[in-house]
Symmetry: C2
Subunit: 276 residues, 2 copies
């Protein structure tokens, strides 16, 4: 998918919501456990009930790998289902991979070619030759971790070098990599005030923002500092939507929660339009 197409979808749906499919077999409604593939059955119901409210889905691969080959099958069925039924959706493999050269190319092939995701999250620690192999794939996006939303983010990401924090150096250095227009960045919503500085370094690239809601970030604050004329944001919510109910109405409950976020996003998009 191209950036233009993603922006088109955001404007059409009045939404920049990404739904995290962090599907844990122990947290899905008990009646689904009778299905041959409970995780896929859950994902399918969530996707069918929410696809018109969001522009992206983001399965975290850990939840699937934890179930071994069966989990890999659930992931594969989920992405195939989304691609077949809702090709307008932007898909993110939240895999946080990071390895070098040929090995990075292997990962890129796994997610871009075998599973046909539009994008994959990548860790920056190993530098250029761990990121560029992903950037070689046309019309695919590499979403680099910059400033994450967990407490451990302060262990290394905010260490200062000559007055510049590590995550800022990651943003600056990444822009010197091949095809930087295919880069997006993960920036946690719990540090919305940092977004102003981040936008100075990466004024245009899309930011994938976890941590709105469950982890305490405010949508309004994120938009205030992070939104661009082309929106430039994908706001992720996982548990708040997919686990809104454990009863038979789980998909409806997810849709209701997604609607609340979509409506809040619609009014943020309106602010931009009135600004223009």
């Amino acid at each position: 998918m191209s950036t233009d197409e993603l922006v088109f979808q955001i404007r059409k749906k009045n939404s920049f919501l990404c739904i995290g499919l962090d599907t844990d077999p122990e947290r899905i409604p008990p009646h689904l456990l009778e299905e041959p593939d409970p995780v896929f059955a859950f994902n399918k119901a969530i996707v069918d009930a929410t696809h018109h409210l969001c522009v992206a889905y983001k399965p975290n691969t850990a939840f699937y790998e934890a179930n071994g080959i069966k989990g890999w099958e659930s992931l594969s069925k989920t992405i195939n289902y989304i691609n077949a039924h809702y090709p307008e959706i932007f898909t993110i493999a939240d895999a946080k991979r990071g390895d070098i050269g040929n090995t990075a190319t292997m990962y890129a092939k796994a997610f871009f070619e075998d599973l046909k995701f539009d994008s994959v999250t990548v860790a920056p620690y190993m530098g250029r030759d761990s990121v560029e192999p992903f950037l070689n794939f046309k019309d695919k996006f590499t979403i680099l971790l910059a400033l994450t939303s967990n407490p451990g983010a302060f262990d290394f990401q905010t260490m200062q070098f000559d007055g510049k924090e590590l995550y800022m150096q990651v943003l600056e250095t990444a822009l010197t990599y091949k095809n930087p227009d295919q880069l997006m960045f993960v920036v946690g919503a719990t540090k919305a005030e940092f977004l102003k500085e981040i936008r100075r370094i990466v004024p245009k690239n899309f930011l994938l923002v976890p941590g709105v809601g469950a982890q305490g970030g405010s949508l309004e604050e994120v938009c205030k500092h992070g939104i661009t004329d082309d929106i430039g944001l994908l706001i992720n919510s996982s548990r708040g939507i997919i686990y809104a109910s454990r009863d038979k109405d789980f998909a409806q409950a997810a849709s209701a929660q997604a609607t609340l976020l979509q409506q809040a996003m619609a009014s943020e998009i309106k602010k931009i339009q009135s600004r223009a």
Copy 2:
């Protein structure tokens, strides 16, 4: 496996060799392609021919994931085969994972419980709550990336904060995490002179050292600066061993290459003993 058991195996075999099972279907001997699972057939032959010369095997998970569910099956069969036939071997899932809290626990379960590896490589960028979930597993090891052996290592890992490089801060901070005796660190052999400084910070933890041979590092240099009274090193070689031949004699050729490294290691161990 405990550290004591690993040290015991090293002394018994006079080897601290780790063989990287980075098995690429396009590089294995053509006659194996007739097998139902060529990658597993290749790994099995390599393991059968080399297990007495090494103390560890390290499949890089990217090579398996690139083949989708089939690849995941090959990985699963490989680790099961090693555990069943050579339980004295230390196994490393070279996955370079990094995610937070419950998600990190999911990855830990995938590698430690589902696949039954002894250890997994982990990226440090997300900090404490991305590493400690792995350290919660008793008798399992977390091998944290510190200084990798690729050119991109110099993008961020060697940036200086108050005269201290990022990788050194990673080592120091990691020692404050829960169960630091279950930590090992990845340190590339291409920077053997850095090992002296590294050993000042982590005098006892095992170091997993890639880059001897193919990437230009010298075994003698690495041992000079990095070896401890309990050896404290696992030296990895992948392509130099497993792709020594593409003919029917590939396993014999791998064994011959592994023997050369094992003999060089035996003489390094002898140096330590005469020093004591």
